[in-house]
Amino acid sequence: MISEFIKRNLSTSAIWLFIIFELLFFSIAGHYLSFSDGAFMDLNNMLLLLNQSAPIGIIAVGMTLIMVNGNIDLSVGAVFAIAGIVMLDSMTWPVFAGLGDWVIVVSWTLALLAGALLGALNGLIVWKTGVDAFIVTLGSMLGYRGLVFMFNGENPTSHLNWTLIDFAEAQFLGFNTATWFLAASVLVIWLVTRYTVHGRNAYAIGNNRNAAVNAGIRVGPHMVINFVIIGFLAALSSVVFYSGSGSVNPNDGQLYELWVITAVVLGGTKLAGGSGSVIGTLGGVIAIQLLRKGLGYIGADTSTVNLVIGLILIVVLFIDRQLNVKGAQELRV
């Protein structure tokens, strides 16, 4: 059972090897190059790493489900921004003035609802029109971003609520709030993918949509549910993040979709759908965050960071491919 778990989730992708490599590399290189006193593999630094992985990580968990289902969602960055605006702005609405700090709960709920709704809209369009999810969400990536701007022009939407910020900065059992939310998302979606009918059907649909249809699985509703989930998670990522920062730029979240997808693919999920796991995704997210952090730690400059991150993506993909080649006798197609 345990070994099966390891086989399914860990050995399928190069990502865990790569994380270990990164840790070793930055620890050693940092020893010579860094101006820092602390060691790279310091416990606090690793806890911080998890915390910093949360914004991309929570969305990536949802993206795993979407991609397993055979779809993709490019609009998550824009949903991230919209949910942030809903949360921060609704805290200042006069209707909620009497609520005191309870407004936080209301605002969180509203923001999560908004995310789920935007996700549902994507899902419904994908389902009912039959247009490919890549195209639908490429469109709504623009459209939702337009909504962000319509809300407050080009100005940031801000509201500092110190109770909220204290909550975001709080620690429980040594882990930060954001880390807890990341962990919870991973756990819940992992359970969904492994143990629920919805999760299994999502795999079936991503794997062979025709087969699923022929077996009488109603493909559309499953897709909508997954889009609702990713909308919700993008909003969750947003509320967790903006609780701790208090201001949304209308451009926030741009390119998140690409980093999220990168993390998911690095984690071993197939772009074509039908296979993948959130555990691998978590690895992908951590690997990317570690890379950014490590490069900063050893003092790489901007152009180097861009160059290295780009090439590393390719190298990881290459190693992953090598690990999965069945041997020289494999069919060459």
Binding site: S140, F149, M150, T262, G310, L311, I314, V333
Partner: protein, 323 residues
């Protein structure tokens, strides 16, 4: 039977759906703004679409071969910066071919990774988007690039010149579109691109060199990007490192709007050109109406979905999907 008649209408709509949508926009915008159909404006739209359009031509090849190219934006920045820098160092005669070679080198690298090593194109080109940006910054030291003496060079020809009253960028765009259109539709190579995109395994079983075909598609894409960079550089004679940033998604949107399937195996150059023009005219039309730029986002969203929806619902013979 009325049923059959309406089916026929739908079929015509579907075959020419994108074109009809295009004409519709033109009518609406020209009614809304009298300047819209002025010759000046039309030229200015096509001219600014030319850069995006030239890139979209190459990306069409890549998409039909079943892959993606998200690196075109940052590669275009690279070409622009390089040719501007070399212009003052080597003179335009040498600068232009050198820039083409360097850009083709990048395209070849991507083509090698995706074609020969069979790495996933989405991630490879995403990685290259970042890596090439880093390369450009290293090359330029992060500085803007400007041609020192802008008035004493013929370099401006590609971006500002005119032949028989037609701006050169438009001419380049048309020539390249015609050439690549024929290459795709009429030659053995074009056929291979469709085959490799349609079913790579069957293509391999038919002795078609998948790797070389994909590789060539990326070279074509890089060639187009280099041309776009040349027009850009020539037009402004100076540039920032980020001049092409974000164009990859606009280009992709245009190719999709033209009806190419992301799964590969379908699409044409002509339709991509229509896709580009639609995007260009929407942007311009809304700008002319004085609507803020973000309204344009929302409208582009709606149009992309409506256009593709119309296209596929005609193919399947009904509007809505039930299961």
């Amino acid at each position: 039977m009325a049923n059959i008649a309406s089916k026929q209408v739908l079929t015509v709509l579907g075959k020419q759906g994108i074109l009809i949508a295009f004409v519709l926009f033109m009518v609406i915008f020209s009614l809304a703004n009298s300047n819209f159909l002025s010759l000046d404006n039309l030229q200015s739209v096509i001219r600014s679409s030319a850069i995006l359009g030239v890139m979209a031509l190459g990306v069409t090849f890549v998409v039909i071969s079943g892959n993606l190219d998200l690196s075109v934006g940052s590669m275009m920045s690279f070409s622009t910066i390089v040719v501007l820098d070399l212009h003052d160092k080597l003179g335009p005669n040498l600068a232009i071919p050198t820039m083409y070679l360097m850009t083709l080198g990048l395209g070849g690298f991507i083509g090698y990774l995706v074609g020969y090593l069979r790495l996933n194109s989405l991630i490879v080109t995403l990685g290259m988007l970042s890596a090439i940006h880093g390369l450009t910054l290293t090359y330029s030291g992060g500085q803007n690039m400007d041609i020192a003496d802008k008035s004493n060079t013929w370099f401006g020809f590609f971006g500002r010149g005119e032949i028989f009253g037609l701006p050169v960028p438009i001419i380049l765009f048309i020539l390249l579109a015609a050439f690549l259109g024929v290459l795709l539709a009429k030659t053995p190579f074009g056929r291979k691109v469709y085959a490799v995109g349609g079913n790579p395994t069957a293509a391999a079983f038919s002795g078609i060199p998948r790797a070389r075909t994909v590789f060539t598609c990326y070279l074509i894409s890089a060639f187009c990007v280099a041309t776009a960079g040349l027009i850009q550089a020539s037009r402004s004679m100076g540039s920032q490192n980020t001049v092409g940033q974000g164009l990859e998604l606009e280009v992709l949107a245009a190719v999709i709007l033209g009806g190419a399937s992301l799964l590969g195996g379908s699409g044409t150059i002509f339709k991509t050109v229509i896709g580009i023009l639609i995007l260009g005219f929407i942007q311009n039309g809304l700008l002319l109406m004085g609507w803020p730029f973000y309204v344009q986002f929302v409208i582009t969203w709606i149009i992309i979905i409506l256009a593709v929806w119309l296209d596929i619902s005609v193919k399947r013979g009904k509007l809505w999907v039930s299961n």
